[in-house]
């Protein structure tokens, strides 16, 4: 599974992308975020406020209940501020 991080989520986690294989128990976006938070203080800090985390799977906005498939591109980022 390819993970992408943007803006201050990227700088707090300390990388722009990585490829990870979450365990079988991680089936939804919400579970993925909880699993990531347990990977280290940088993840825990970046993801601590769920209101400030947006998720796109395969370049489409999804909710925490969204079911993940192997090979998904999962992007985590803060609320957008363009325009």
């Amino acid at each position: 599974m390819k993970l992408l991080y943007f803006a201050w989520l990227r700088t707090r986690i300390g990388k722009a992308e990585e490829t990870l294989d979450p365990p079988a128990g991680v089936t939804t976006v919400g579970e993925l975020i909880e699993w990531l938070k347990a990977r280290g203080p940088n993840y825990a800090d970046a993801l601590k406020n769920p209101k400030l985390v947006r998720v796109a799977v395969n370049r489409e906005y999804v909710t925490l209940a969204h079911a993940l498939k192997s090979g998904d591109e999962v992007a985590l980022f803060p609320p957008v501020t363009g325009g």
Partner: protein, 151 residues
């Protein structure tokens, strides 16, 4: 038509090209967003726009389609820049051409409201007090919600 680019754009040339050879366009409404040089108390020296390549283009194309479904538009143009910008620089151009003035205005506003809350861009401001990511504004969310047909 949508474009996501690092380079600046020439507003007049873009607007002219948008309706060239079109026969029944009564008007073109546009919005140009510019980099401001103040953020609260501090002076901004530069701003860097990060985006999500691939997703940005996909979402912009989708929202152009949505605008065309809602209003009778002869032409739509969205240009959004990324990378490092200076105060006064152009960030974004949204333009809608229509034979109906109301449609041109409503669609243009819909698109810019939507861009502000959905397009995956993030602004990093460099100020005398250091660099900081711009916070999303609730007022932008509210502006987008007013276009939600289900509400």
């Amino acid at each position: 038509m949508i474009r996501v680019q690092r380079e600046d754009f020439d507003t007049g040339k873009e607007l002219d090209a948008l309706t060239r050879d079109m026969t029944s366009v009564g008007g073109v409404t546009s919005f140009v967003g510019l980099v401001r040089d103040v953020a609260g108390a501090e002076k901004i020296t530069s701003m860097t726009l990060e985006h999500y390549p691939g997703m940005t283009e996909k979402l912009l194309a989708e929202i152009e389609e949505e605008a065309r479904r809602r209003w009778p538009l002869a032409a739509v143009l969205i240009i959004h820049r990324y990378g490092e910008l200076k105060p006064g620089d152009r960030i974004v151009l949204v333009a809608c051409a229509s034979s109906h003035r109301d449609a041109a205005f409503d669609a243009c506003r819909f698109l810019i409201d939507w861009l502000k809350t959905k397009a995956p861009f993030w602004k990093l401001e460099e100020t005398s007090a250091g660099a900081r990511w711009v916070d999303a504004k609730d007022s932008d969310d509210d502006a987008t919600k007013k276009w939600d047909k289900s509400s």
